[in-house]
Symmetry: C2
């Protein structure tokens, strides 16, 4: 399981998706914000007291990575997360002769810790409610104007927040005074992001302590971290040591992180109440039924077919040679994860019983609104407005996907080119009138993204680009004017190979020069990928604008009215949809029953060896084979809980009532994928690594004694 909220092809729907949640989550449903955590409910259900101090400590020890979660586990900036969250870094730091993905890595001392390019770490230190300001700015405006004003206002608020933070930080003072959340670590610059919860029900500014020097300390071999590979992904029972350790640095030294979590190496007990802190990426539990159906038909299913084809191309490419096999390993494993997740999402959205349940809930809400004339007047008919917006979404789905979102040009080089072209054009405008994502506040992250020294593999670029071009021609038709203009007399394969070969954008120095040179440099560049991005941009922007005006704006306005009506009818004991901001969920360690069979909540080390075949992906690495006789084979390995999590929670600590770490989230079961749309407490389970297995591995397999000492492990 990986966060999917950052996959470019799947980004578009999210903005229109989040919506105030249904009332009174039954069971252990809910991804709660720290500021509105239902501590009383947890106390009543489990007798566990979650105090404000507990919440503050856990919040300040929980870290958001680029697309995962981690937690501080020592005062010297040591971070615990998953191996699959650092796979990018492992691949980047590998050489032709040595694969850190295959071999794993253990820094013998701190100078050996390896910087991960582009990896960032953010700690949420302060939140501020700005709902009143935003609503005041939007008051009285039509859908489109309100949508523009909302974005502009939030951009201005972010900018003002950053300026205040920089002043505070520059003056060397403590962080901006906390609105109910308390102060964090005093180190690292501060960054502000606006957050929109409950689809316009609540606007917040989140202030993060930001670290951009993150180094690799330890990762096990992929064979044991991802034992079972794609066949076992999203499954339980499971036998994966999916862990890694990173360290946050500042000014070249390990960061001082006094707020960290202790690891309890005994692991959890069956039935024990546990909490999971982290950044769930994206849920869409509040979409209307017709929105879900549109999403299934025009977004998920076409994406699934392109992804399945890409899987075939990757696999066949990897069979050409051992080197090609290594090259494709990481992108393939990311893709397979996404494929399985999307496949199960589609299956969920073909489940007539669940869709019927949602329809009934929707009808019940409509009935209760209709029963209150004043509420009915204020609410209008948002469902009809959404249906109209969806007709537009379906009409423009193909050009919007291929040109607007760029699926037709699917390659890292094109994404760089589009970003450079747009950043140069947008920079000339006032921050608040720019394209979404190009505000002043966003620029540092864009710069990091575009200039990061990550390897570009021309063979893989050619594969993804030619596939995108081929399917674009297929779906828009060979007589589409833009298709004809882009392809000219070339075939998609030939054009893709030529663009990748001739573009110089794989060189970070070239990208940095274009980033700094602005519009003049872009126009003068002559780089064929830049030229392609410029040629396509007018139509891409027009499609984006149309989508924004005729789909997003009316849908937002309608969802906001539904949200307010739902608040009016059902009250406020609700949680907002996930959006890769900090949340806390509660639950217990427990299995489930499948076809009448009980699935135990724990696996044991012994079965790892029994399942090994010696062939990928069921190969136990040599280090473990050598250590087998020393290992206590009854050690609990992985376990499952009924906490409500989704992708983005990867690397989240599983925390006991005392606030100690007893496990490390790395996946969910196959039934958890439907969690994007609804939480089924019967079957939905989070999957975690047991800290008892962590101790056994670090001590007896990896002999990581210095790390164990830093983690406060009991003497062996």
């Amino acid at each position: 399981m990986r966060v999917t909220c950052v996959t470019p092809l799947r980004l578009a729907w999210m903005a229109s998706a989040a919506l105030a949640a249904l009332a009174a989550a039954h069971a252990d449903e809910g991804m709660w914000t720290f500021q509105d955590f239902p501590a009383a409910l947890v106390q009543q259900r489990y007798g566990v007291r979650i105090t404000p101090a507990w919440l503050e400590r856990v919040r300040l020890a929980t870290v958001r990575l680029s697309d995962c979660t981690a937690s501080f586990v020592s005062p010297d900036g040591l971070l615990l997360t998953n191996q699959h969250c650092v796979e990018d870094c492992l691949a980047e730091r590998s050489s032709a002769s040595r694969s850190l993905v295959d071999d794993g890595y253990l820094a013998s001392d701190r100078p050996e810790e390896l910087r991960c390019a582009g990896q960032v770490a953010d700690v949420l230190v302060r939140t501020e409610d700005v709902t009143a300001k935003v609503l005041a700015a939007m008051r009285g405006l039509g859908d489109r104007a309100a949508n523009d004003m909302r974005r502009r206002t939030l951009a201005q608020l972010e900018q003002a927040c950053e300026q205040t933070s920089r002043q505070g930080s520059g003056a060397g003072s403590a962080d901006g005074s906390a609105a109910g959340l308390g102060a964090g670590s005093s180190a690292g610059p501060l960054q502000c992001e606006s957050v929109d919860l409950y689809e316009g029900g609540q606007y917040l500014l989140y202030e993060y302590r930001h670290y951009d020097d993150v180094r690799l300390v330890f990762a096990p071999e992929a064979d044991v971290a991802a034992f079972g590979g794609d066949p076992d992904n999203f499954e339980f029972p499971r036998w994966c040591l999916d862990m890694s350790l990173l360290r946050v640095y500042e000014h070249g030294r390990p960061a001082h992180t006094p707020q960290y979590l202790k690891i309890d190496f005994a692991g959890p007990r069956a039935g024990e109440p546990v909490l999971v802190s982290g950044n769930p990426g994206s849920t869409e539990r509040m979409l209307t039924v017709s929105q879900l159906v549109t999403q299934r038909d025009v977004e998920l299913l076409p994406y699934l077919l392109r992804a399945a084809e890409l899987r075939g191309r990757y696999i066949q490419f990897g069979l050409q040679s051992e080197a090609d096999g290594r090259l494709v390993e990481e992108p393939l494993s990311l893709l397979e994860n996404d494929l399985k997740e999307t496949r199960e999402e589609v299956q969920a959205l073909l489940d007539d019983a669940q869709l019927a349940r949602k329809s009934r809930e929707q009808a019940e809400l409509e009935r209760r609104i209709a029963a209150d004339p004043q509420l009915a007047r204020a609410t209008g008919d948002p469902w009809a407005e959404i249906a109209q917006a969806e007709r537009v979404a379906r009409d423009i789905a193909l050009p919007y996907t291929f040109i607007g979102e760029g699926a037709g040009f699917n390659s890292q080089l094109f994404r760089y080119a589009r970003l450079l072209v747009r950043a140069a054009a947008e920079r000339a405008k006032p921050s608040a009138s720019r394209l979404p994502g190009y505000t002043d506040a966003a620029f540092p992250a864009l710069e990091r993204q575009v200039t990061a020294d990550v390897p570009i593999h021309p063979e893989l670029e050619t594969i993804t680009l030619s596939l995108g071009l081929t399917r674009m021609r297929d779906r828009l038709g060979p007589d589409d004017p833009l298709v004809r203009q882009v392809l000219g007399k070339e075939s998609p394969e030939t054009l893709a190979a030529r663009l990748v070969a001739e573009s110089k954008l794989a060189d970070p120095a070239m990208r940095r020069a274009l980033w700094s040179g602005g519009e003049a440099a872009i126009i003068a560049s002559g780089d064929p990928m830049i030229e392609l991005a410029r040629r396509v941009d007018p139509e891409a922007r027009a499609l984006r604008q149309r989508y924004q005006d005729e789909v997003q704006a009316p849908v937002r306005a309608a969802l906001q009215r539904i949200a307010h009506a739902r608040f009016a009818v059902l009250g406020t004991s609700v949680y907002p949809d996930a959006d890769f901001t900090l949340r806390l969920s509660f639950g217990t360690v427990r299995g489930w029953s499948e076809h009448g069979e009980e699935i135990e909540p724990f696996t044991r080390l012994a079965r790892l060896f029994e399942r090994a075949t010696g062939s990928e992906p069921f190969r136990v690495p040599p280090s473990w084979m050598a250590a087998k006789d020393r290992l206590e084979l009854s050690t609990p390995f992985d376990f499952c809980t009924d906490n409500d999590i989704v992708g983005g929670n990867s690397g989240s600590p599983v925390i006991d009532a005392q606030g100690d770490i007893v496990g490390l989230i790395f996946d969910g079961n196959i039934e958890s994928i439907a969690g994007t749309y609804w939480f089924d407490e019967q079957d939905n389970r989070a999957v975690a690594l047991d800290t008892a297995a962590v101790l056994e591995a670090l001590r007896k397999v990896y002999h990581a004694d210095a790390l164990l000492a830093e983690l406060g492990a009991p003497a062996s």
Copy 2:
């Protein structure tokens, strides 16, 4: 467009699919049998008289190929069909230095005509209604016993028919006396097949004149036959010369075929009434809504994902070298055709409005049954019985697909192995108690199939087999006992490569030896693919049996009661679902309107050259570039009609009121794909080649003067 009824992975649902059609087809809907053709309706609507003599001549001139249609166009056995129907043969007769697919072929004289291995040609010469015999045999039996008895009775009837035919044929007499259909050509052996129309409403014996020496006379280059390739497939407007000429031989000489159709090289006019004679492969217009939904979810969608992945592997494989590109060309084009068709079928089955319309029709039928107490008693609740059978179908879908249907072992070598293993085992039993498909009547075709000298490409076999094994492990899980047993310690890729390398089944002589040697030879063989097929067979047979008993039998019984109820309520002005037997449809040459734009029914030759880019698949071959100045560029090229056709009609003649050929069906538009489930006369169009373009091409590009003389073309 190609017939899909022969794709092994998609065969299972068809048996349970066909069902007596809805009453009174509006517009030009309907794939009518020759014996029940609505001549009065055609007379009334178009003023065209279709006489019994017209029907007999067209029937005897229409030919069923292995998976297409063709028609006799000279008294010397000359057949007109599509280039895509002979692509197999072109590929088989190619060498490393010369590709007949790429270069086309024109036999300079009859000795140069090339035999197509495995290609057969069948002419329907006699039909006999055996409904009363079958119903009498089934009377009073339960669902499963009735299902077994039906199969056994039909097998016995086929066998008796073949014996009678052989005696007649052996004695050199004319064919068995015709029951309403008249006598056919006196040449070629006769074969009998049982046909089940209206899902048990009507049982027939069809007697065919069978030819197995079919030779290639002419095919144009793939670049012009399939101009536009996959992007243009299932589209209109269109510019394809998708034609070929074959010749049927017997005793080494061209067959004498006095019943042939004349070609009218003027082509059709807009608005002209036309008829299409041929063998539509499969429609499922009478399935219940819940059957359609089950089909979509458990059959089509999973198949689509496997096929998309295979497309990616094929494409990447083909990029390795020019030779690999050529090797993969034909299987890739078959796959892409199937992919597009399945994708559009899934889209059709996600169309809520159409499903709602079907639900309303279903509810109306239920209401009218309920209003007639006697009918209600006789009908019972077949919909509930179908729903129960579908729950079983969904439960066993994964093992049934991968093991029962063999998708987990997807390769020609495994299919040979399974066929050899089963034929040896079944031959020992009485014909009527064997597995479906292994009756005495079926054995000659099985033998031809398994011993045909067609090339096996180990690289492609390894690709499809490893993909099947990988997805089987993925979906059944690595801990499934059969998966563990099959894979052992090997990875799917390693096992597939080893099996393909070590098996000797690619050699037709080896397959012939195993076919003749029977069970003893099979057991002694030691061939690893045979051993795999034997190892898997008990579970595969058990799954098949369960599917037959718990899905097919109750569904058949229920559908038969629905069919009888529908007859009772709606009368008999209906046509049966398509099943690759001979049908006739009527309609007119006309375009349609799309997004308010009128699509003209004809394209012209000029635009072929305008659309050419020089790159695959928009390349005009050198022969056409050289002839360009001689060509009349205003010549009509392709056209469309509103006849009701589906895959299997490829190669069908488009016939005018006089019984002359004016066009050659080779495709349908994208909207025609939903024709599997319903006929939308607004948008569903058949796509055909104009005989005027045939003349222009044969005369000015290919200088095929002898052929033109044989076809009775006007002097130039």
